[in-house]
């Protein structure tokens, strides 16, 4: 259905350098009206930078942008907005301290005599949410809603009546299957109305579900573009990685359980009112336990209860056979329990600190601040982690905030691993991580296990859980509803338990 004569928007010869990094080099991108265009590439390939240039959030060093054949100047986000280019960024959510209404109407509130009419602003907000079939209280602060709802609100904000180009940078990273399907339904409607849509994701399944065409970036260069039908999965992956895939799949193959001995960490009737119903759960050394469940089923809460980030009001936690009376994150870290949070921006990383400093944080907390690690030792450890996880950064001293989204996620992981924990709790460890790195992370998880680490992995990706887990606990509505082990762990089984049948 696409009219290919003049693309809706064209980026020609775009280049961009950051200090020490050539983020984009002579990149071309063409989007037709009424198509969904997937922009793919490894972590740090330059995807987010490219769309930030298109939307005026980052100035370009060289290149031209044409909208419907005419060259346009896009200097600020407001320019892009005025031209009908709407964006949902990867990193930004909205303003958590403000209400949903205020977030949805910021800078475009309806006014009378110069003053904002909040009554009409509320109506406008509700109308925007209605397009996404979202019914929430618009007067509550955005921060009181889940990440998924916040994401949908961000999309609702981006969509305008005059939107000609819609950019979605990893919009589905925090959505569960139903929410993703809802989003895709909306994307299809928008596409039918002639909007050009850029879709960045690391979920290849979703690419084949929704994209009409694909462009692939590698190390800041465009390495391929074409209709989805002409880019089968393997070809696509080797384009992205610049090498044959072969090995990647092998790592995801099944494995034997390495679990042994008494539980390292065990929860007995642990729970907190209105947060998570009391549950039993144990982790043994060398074992990976998966936590499955829909968004909002209590995965994160379970992880935080075990780590001590949420204080329980019932039950007890047993570590190495000894009850832990008052658990706190600090105490957990000291006794060898580490936690990788899901929302790296809000809880995980200190963006201004360097990669090395971030990696050292947990380790230093564990050792106590008086026993400082030497600088050379720090460097060596950081370098080791950067290599092990293939973190794309020019050196260990780069501020974490300047890394690409997926590489930030890897730093969070590196930080927990550096403290050499006995128990590691991972909440959505592979969100925003590309296929190559995904395999690296899974491989690393397996290796750690064989060295006697106990792992708890909370994830919304069932395939990932099936691939890594020795046991899976299934949650529904903030309650543990089942547990399965060994050969019983299949996608179908988990789904059946989640559905309660």
């Amino acid at each position: 259905m696409a009219d290919t004569s003049t693309p809706r928007i064209e980026l020609l010869g775009v280049s961009k350098s950051f200090p020490g990094v050539r983020a984009l080099e002579n990149v071309e991108l063409r989007l037709n009206a009424g198509e969904v265009h997937a922009l793919l590439g490894e972590n740090g390939a330059g995807k987010s930078t490219l769309i930030k240039i298109m939307t005026g959030a980052v100035p370009r060093d060289a290149g031209e942008i044409r909208l419907d054949g005419r060259p346009v100047q896009i200097g600020t986000t407001a320019d892009a907005r005025a031209l009908g280019i709407s964006t949902v960024y990867q990193e930004v959510n909205l303003i958590p301290t403000m209400t949903v209404t205020k977030n949805l109407t910021l800078e475009r509130q309806p006014r009378r005599f110069g003053l904002i009419s909040w009554r009409r602003a509320r109506a406008l907000a509700r109308q925007r949410l209605k397009r996404l079939n979202l019914e929430i209280d618009t007067e509550k602060p955005l921060g009181s809603y889940s990440v998924a709802i916040q994401q949908l609100v961000a999309i609702a904000r981006a969509l305008e009546d005059d939107t000609r180009v819609l950019v979605l940078d990893e919009p589905t990273a925090s959505l569960d299957a139903t929410e993703t399907e809802l989003l895709f339904q909306i994307v299809r409607d928008l596409k039918a109305s002639g909007i050009a849509i850029v879709f960045i994701t690391h979920f290849l399944d979703q690419v084949y579900q929704i994209a009409d065409r694909i462009s692939v970036l590698r190390n800041g260069r465009l390495v391929g573009t074409g209709p989805t039908a002409e880019l089968p999965r393997l070809k696509l992956i080797s384009l992205m990685l610049g090498r044959e895939l072969g090995t990647v799949e092998a790592h995801l193959a099944s494995h034997a359980s390495l679990a042994s001995g008494e539980p390292v960490l065990a929860a007995k009737g642990l729970g907190r009112r209105r947060t998570m119903a009391p549950f039993d759960l144990s982790l043994r050394a060398g074992e990976v336990v998966g936590l499955a469940g829909l968004l909002g089923s209590g995965r994160t809460e379970t992880a935080k209860l075990l780590f001590g980030a949420i204080r329980p009001d019932s039950g007890e936690l047993v570590l190495d056979g000894k009850p832990v009376p008052h658990n706190s994150p600090r105490q957990s870290l000291r006794s060898g329990v580490a936690f990788c949070p899901e929302d790296r921006k809000a809880e995980g990383l200190l963006g201004e600190l360097s990669v090395r400093e971030n990696i050292m944080l947990a380790l230093q907390t564990k050792r106590g601040w008086l026993r400082r690690l030497g600088r050379d030792e720090q460097k060596r450890l950081a370098q080791e982690m950067i290599k092990a996880l293939a973190i794309a950064t020019p050196d260990a001293e780069k501020p974490v905030g300047q890394l690409s989204g997926g590489n930030q996620q890897k730093v969070v992981l590196a930080r927990s691993l550096a403290s050499q924990p006995k128990v590691l709790i991972l909440d959505e460890p592979t969100r925003g991580i590309d296929v190559g790195a995904h395999a690296d992370v899974v491989r690393l998880i397996r290796r750690l296990c064989s060295e006697g680490l106990a792992l708890l992995v909370a994830s919304s990706e069932l395939d990932e859980l099936v691939a890594v887990s020795d046991r899976v606990a299934v949650l529904r509505d903030r309650r543990k509803v089942g547990e399965m082990a060994g050969a019983d762990i299949t996608r179908e089984n988990i789904i059946r338990t989640i559905a309660g049948r």
Binding site: A78, E107, G143, S144
Partner: protein, 320 residues
Amino acid sequence: MTERYLPLMATVTVFLALFVTGGVLYEHFFSTLVLGHILADNAFIIIAAIGTTFVILSGGIDLSIGSMIGFVGVVMARLDTLGWHPLASAAVLLAFGLLFGAAQGYIIDFCDIQPFIITLAGLFMLRGACFMVTLDSIPIRHPFVDAFADTSIPLPGDGFLASSAIVMLVVLAGAIAIAHFTRFGTNVYAIGGDRASAVLMGVPMRRTTVMIYALGGFYSALGGVIYALYTSSGYPLAGTGNELNAIAAVVLGGTLLTGGVGMVAGTLFGGMILGLIATLIIFHGSLNGAWIMIASGVLLFLFIVVQRSLVGSFNLRRSS
């Protein structure tokens, strides 16, 4: 909905509690007379603090307030000796305050320097300028000053609302309208809530930052005008340290120092709480001025602790 008003409610509750305590302890305390005095005495600081509220809501800080109050006073007094009408010099000085603040805001945004440093420089420059104008206290003798002092609105009971308090309430109403019913006001909250997001959501950073500090400069200049009229003089050391009182009033008023959360109306009560403490201690008689500061300090500390826990519970709700 109610969550938003929680800090404001806390401030109002503390204010009422202090006021009632005074009423129980001392005869004649619980009256509109005392209330009117507190309003009049603290009008200038509350006015300046209203401007600071915007600055703090945006996640910034303004340290030049006290010097601005002093500078405005001495220039008004000097111009008075040259035969200027106080209203004329006030108009000029308000424009000056606005421009001075705007310049501070521009430098903060353009050079991307912490507001703390820039406004600290402003503090020194303006205080230095005070001493350039005069080293002594200069009286303002224009008849308008007496007329201003004599104007008041009677309150029920035996109290009255002095002209300085009237000006304060009028500009407070204006500030509330700006904060809650203009795009600029909402943008201030957005910048304080999450700066990076605000940029990507299309908030014009330069313009908003300039306006925030311009507003801060304007309100502190107005505070200076009111102070000069109220004391009918200009003194080069006047207003020293008042930036800290203003910040204290804002924080007691329930605004978070980290920005993004708070209300302009709270600042009125925050300022009045500070005034009430001073009045209570003066009523007590045997306690000296040192206790005013100690009590204010303790209260400020308690308030920050309470705010922390409020914010903490908010975050918890967010994660669950």
